[in-house]
Symmetry: D2
Subunit: 508 residues, 4 copies
């Protein structure tokens, strides 16, 4: 059963002759698009930095992208809509936006471009836009006056492990806009190395899984700080969450993101609030007791000003809850089981050694390891409709990142592979869960293809199994990066950093 | 969420004083048991070679075991029965067996020892045995006359890949008995190396997963043969299944085990029957068309003398069908889904490259890879009661061996974790599926612990999830070794090599 | 010897107070640089596409880079020169270049920017440039007339394995300029899959090691072609190198890059020349017999118009020869041994199985595997001065990419760690081997950090050992990507695609 | 360069006909040998337990071996001597030994068997033995009286990591003899799990690299002990080396093996001596300051009664020093460099994270990691002749166990591959370094083949490179098991557990 079979295959008859002109036309089209995309870059940058306008193409951010990145974002549309989209469609949109003295907003120029094209008529782009994004047109002056000095929100990373460093990467990347989160400090224990600060910087700079930091990092030994893409980040050494006076570093009213996993309840996390300069705390792990577990896109509107301590739930809960909500809304869920095939994490051992938890002491790179997980049960903390309906378990396997959740569901209605895939594709493109659910339809994708995915989860359409009322869905997720992106979304909401979004993300 | 938590734990007060005598008693007991086990070894060997009697302890073979292996086989009983079993219980049984001039049989001296002890009475061991194993007592002379020259069955391995080499290891190991399979030849293509024969021998001798061959291997260049533990195995170079005259090597009426996976239907596998000296063919992969797929323990009694071509199904089908049958018999199965988390196999690529199949071309050591599998559907070929009830899928992960099947079932009756585990423990110990189903109840086991398992599947009791009529079972299996053991069982039956078994394997 | 030691470390006294203004200044500087870099992008693109001018910053290409990529290229200078370099220094250079109607050239705006700044005087940028790059100033019109229709060279990939696909990625990336290589076709065997063409495209699109293709790929089933970033690439199915009529696809006078490894001598590779439309052949493996083995940077000037068949040597030979030449030139080499710790390649097996070569059949992801290599001996084919002086060997280890060569040398002169490192740093920055030798000086780098490196080899300065006349150097290399970049350099020279380079790459 | 080449190879003409009788003869010979080996087992066991006589065959221990293990030990001789050796040669030796009422000894029945056979004459086996092993003949009664109660030495494992557990496995295995080390306790920190004791036992019972424990393990919760093959091992929870009163557990005059790596100097390790019941301490890591670093076989005769604290050096120093000594003695060493390609250890991280040491924080399963090592320099602590002559470095690679040292040497004399290999083969068989140096001559061996090797290092003869006065040797070692075996040898010497060895291990 081992040797691959070789079967001779007859020649494919070659009939079509492609002329030199046709061949050259392909390349000319491409270089014209490159040229246009190059011209977009200063516009995109100016809108971002001056107007605090984040532009995107069908949910794909185009801030700080290369020319090819911009073209790819347009090309993606073809996979998901019937029509093509080109930079020639979106360039006029961008140019007009640049003239409209906009206030803060998230604007999808891809969707606007398609809409403008589809309406076909004689309306000018500028008139079209004045109608579509009316609330923010001409708001630039007013806002920029208001924001002087107070447009940003201080954030502190307590702990600087794998999630902590990815949160740093995301916040640094988004720091260019005016009204945003500012990563002001990271708090760690002295690690014992002479060159501790340089080591922290190095861990941010290079990553065996996610590759090099996108930007430049310098170490300011004198001030115990890391400067990353212009972000001055104080490195504070401390032995306890309640022992830091953040105000002495000019940090105030800060949100602390506790990514140590050391404390999970109100008492432990509450220690942060005793440190001067802290206003709110968020835990990057499931919280215990009455702490709200927030899955962005699902229950983030539960957050009130009174919530001083929140949890962003676990990576797996974030990956599965949006898809489960989508299925629940459309098909109803009787019950189900979620099995996750999960990459190893630093909590496990390299080779067999003592570990407090069951099986986790056994060598992670050498074994499949069954681990209990509360991720499926925790879904109901964000989506109470599913309370008592789901069981869950996880198998850790020897990959360093990206995991897969297998949703094995008994539904209330009949379901077919085609209909559920089409429904989820729609959700990925046009719903309010657009940032949470991604959709892939390829017979060749494997786990490493999802490294760096910023969605909470990605539905693998080719793997879907459906029969009667039974449905099995396969959801990939970058358990590090996708989760970190979700955490930053929650922190943004905690910080009151909200944007009007154009066009609105809903299914029609 | 990364740093493991350290919590100071108070000293455990030490109160019990253990005397030197107690300590020494432990070691003395052990050395006495060693001494007894040493004395058992010549008896076990003689019964095997002279009488063709295979002895075991609760299903664990004790042939060719070390002293410690024999003690461990006894100790295993403690995990599964309420009582202890010691070599002091089984030694008298063995000694008596040695005197009874037995004919061919499989005799579980562990179960007999417990039974004799439990009946407590004054009956002599010999009288007890004469009753328990009456059919074979005194049959030695009669059989040995009958078997002269015709007790064995010629077997040929067509292909010598991973399964082929493990089949060779198992058949060589069992060649010592009188009435058995004889591996007479392996058929391969010339591989292009100068020292081709030495390379074939080396692959049998050393294995990165299963360790060194248990015995000695020499190469007979002159006769193009490998001699392994006294088995003279001809290496035949051929370019096609129908091109060998086996009789020219003194091989006749042979069973050919096709482990190339190249042909799966009657037409292709039928080619073997055109080679002189072949009587029957078995495929170590799922067969196509009308070929019977045999899972030993389930439907091996479907084999008739007319079946010239059989399939031993796939490793996964072998792993899950016995457990599914057990559950079906006791609880009924409405429907279900089988997800296997599977080690990579040589069919995949080391790094991304072309592959005929979907996703299988992507790097196996770096990825989780979704692969379709017919293993769940194929269950009904051996167990028709489940026809149309199961779906299945597989995720290949970066481990080289041992896989896990997750049976996600909707049952007809309510089920609890305790009852289903207790039921499966019983099946593993006392049923006719004893060799197919193993049972483990440990909070620390992981996949590498099952390398070398000879059961078709091992139920991981600690992972079982049950709720109402929903049941999720986790079944480990050595997809190489466990499957190979099942194949050999089928070949034995094809060869008419059957044994009376004492005591009978049934649940009371 | 296992538990890491925890030692409490005293608090680092915090004395420096950093003002809000200082902190904001960092970010403002950054966003100003972003803004400038954004404005550079259309200039860089226009110079490339219109003038065929490739711009770089200290050897780092800035074509098709993102804003941050451009800033990073500038930042790199700080690591290697004493001075800083900013986009504010290079922007005026770029603007002037855009006005000078340049002809084809490679221009390092980083080095020119530093030189202009260093000379300090009152000369205008334009006057400075007219002197520095005089030969190409004003040549645009003349060239563009000449090049009409004949500026490019057809290239065919015979085979499409790992090296083949990376060659494709590099040639596609560089196709934007006017006078360049054009990847016109790939030739493969029918692989047996229904969707063969889609599979080829998918392998180009996604890679488990190198990540996604930077651009967009579509499949033109009708014309059996892949269109990648506007490059129309015919996929030709063939069973032999001498059986293709390339001219029937409009391909002529083509260079065939044989990346199958199937033929290594003049006779075998000569078959390609029998196919209509082929003018020259290059092998991406060591050639046998009299075939010239070219290591770009070392002996590429040996190529004459008469050479119809060339070899680009092996990845390891490419990695070590430049460093060996540098050392030989400065210190003399008595003798030495090169040990390479090498990533596995697709030539090995996933799990133990037959392989023609010694040890290579054993499982690659599970083992260290000693493999003989001719890479050290082959150095003398490009650098005859070292004939008979080097031995070599390789250990394959379980990483998928990036390797390390350890040069263990007995020199003719005394050497110290500082002097040799300083010398090699200079070579990496300012010599004619700038593209071949890279230099890293970090205490934290590991193999994955070098994935995607386009240098033939990277000296790890922190690992250098020197004592008397003994020197041990550690050279990292991306055995896939770095080698492919070297191959493309050779193909460019074969194609007569040469550029004047400004400023000239030499050590002063 | 990727696709393996397939070349048709002509059929090998089959000429030799092997008769049925010849084939059967092979198997009959084998079963006769099995039968003899079975009869040996009770003799081997009795000699061991009663007489404290350890028997071996050319250095391979046959204690507690299976039948096949015993035959393999004999077969090994063929690889290394010109002659064959069979159990028929050694059985008479064993039978005679059993009658001679021996005192404590290590007796190589393989070498004695060959010697007896070679002398050919008419001397009886018993007479032969009385001469060869005269000093211990008839000493049984005398010794057994003397040893009553005081023949063993208490040993305590401080720490229970990977090395600690392998030390436990070896000591338990050897506990059967009368006069030996007794593992009385292991000392650990409370690990935080409810079932801490069960977890410690489980780690001893199962290992992902070395497989299951060879024997039976039970947990005695009441007495906080693990009972392994009859060895009662107290588990003591403690927070410091100076805080245990061992005498309260009946342990006295004990040797403490510190395998934590936490303390490496006299002050730190001296803390153990403050605990009541401790007489000596040995560190399983390189010691600092004046602590003697002992490599068994090299400088173990430096140990005096005054040495209260010793170090067993590192695994790499143990692997290379014996081979270096052998080469130094025969060829002289001018200078050299030792590069080790080393498996990862638990000191590294699973995925990138903070680590005090350079590069060690980067993901171990994903990277080649350069790590400094003092192993080469430390050679001179055991072998002062090499002081100042060696440099060294290490590359950690993604394998979990077994490493390779590459000795790159400039010698004083000329050397050839054949002569140095023959010399090292001799050293492996007949010298006083027989237990330290092993020798393998196979074109197919890879790292996993050496898992479980008990030699300090294994010379890979096929890899040896020699040219003039330059020599490159490749030495495999199980960095866990081989090292642990060396440590136990040192502890035996510290305990005064010495044996007369017959025949003496020297080269003639």
């Amino acid at each position: 059963m081992c040797a691959p079979i070789f079967q001779p295959v007859p020649y494919r008859a070659e009939v079509h002759i492609v002329s030199h002109e046709q061949i050259n036309q392909h390349l000319t089209n491409w270089t014209e698009r490159e040229s246009t995309a190059e011209a977009m870059i200063p516009l995109i940058g100016r809108l971002y930095r001056k107007n605090n306008v984040v532009t995107s193409v069908y949910g794909r951010s185009i801030i700080n992208q290369s020319v090819i990145g911009i073209i790819r974002a347009h090309r993606y549309v073809r996979q998901v809509e019937d029509s093509e989209l080109s930079v020639h469609d979106t360039m006029p949109i961008l140019e007009a936006l640049d003239r409209l003295e906009l206030g803060t907003a998230h604007i999808d120029i891809g969707k606007l471009g398609v809409k403008y094209r589809d309406q076909g008529g004689s309306e000018s782009v500028e008139d079209f836009l004045k109608r579509e994004i009316a609330p923010v047109v001409g708001k630039y002056g007013e806002e920029s006056k208001k924001n002087e000095g107070n447009g940003t929100k201080d954030v502190v990373l307590y702990g600087f492990g794998r999630i902590g460093r990815l949160l740093a990467r995301i916040m640094i990347e988004k720091a260019g806009g005016g009204n945003n989160l500012r990563l002001r400090a990271i708090v760690v224990r002295q690690g014992g190395a002479e060159n501790d600060l340089e080591k922290r910087a190095s861990l941010l700079r290079r990553d065996s899984v996610h590759g090099p930091f996108n930007g430049t990092i310098t170490v300011d030994e004198e001030n115990s700080a890391i400067i990353a893409n212009g972000n001055f980040i104080k490195v504070i050494y401390s032995d306890g969450p309640d022992k830091v006076d953040y105000t002495s570093y000019g940090i105030d009213n800060a949100i602390v993101i506790d990514n140590t996993g050391k404390w999970r309840d109100e008492e432990g996390l509450g220690l942060h609030l005793k440190s001067k300069g802290v206003s709110r705390v968020i835990l990057t792990a499931p919280g215990k007791g009455d702490i709200k577990n927030i899955v962005y896109g699902i229950n983030n509107d539960w957050i009130t000003d009174e919530d001083k301590i929140l949890s962003a739930a676990s990576c797996t809960t974030n990956a599965i809850t949006p898809v489960l909500k989508a299925i629940y809304d459309e098909y109803g869920i009787v019950d189900g089981h979620v099995e996750t095939v999960h990459s190893y994490t630093n909590d496990q051992n390299l080779i067999d050694n003592y570990h407090k938890g069951s099986r986790r002491g056994r060598s992670a790179p050498l074994n499949m390891v069954i681990t209990e997980t509360g991720a499926a049960k925790a879904v109901s903390k964000a989506l109470p409709e599913l309370k008592g309906k789901l069981s869950g378990n996880a198998i850790r396997v020897p990959t360093p990142n990206v995991s897969m959740a297998i949703l094995n569901l008994n539904l209330e209605k009949d379901v077919s592979v085609e209909s559920v895939n089409e429904y989820l594709r729609e959700m990925a493109l046009h719903s309010e869960l657009q940032k949470q659910i991604d959709f892939v339809n390829s017979p060749e994708v494997v786990s490493t293809d999802f490294v760096g995915s910023r969605h909470a989860g990605v539905v693998d359409a080719q793997a879907t199994i459906a029969n009667g009322k039974r449905l099995i869905l396969y959801v990939w997720y970058d358990n590090e990066f996708g989760y970190s992106a979700q955490v930053v979304r929650v922190v943004n909401q905690m910080a009151g950093v909200t944007y009007p979004i154009f066009p609105k993300r809903t299914r029609d």
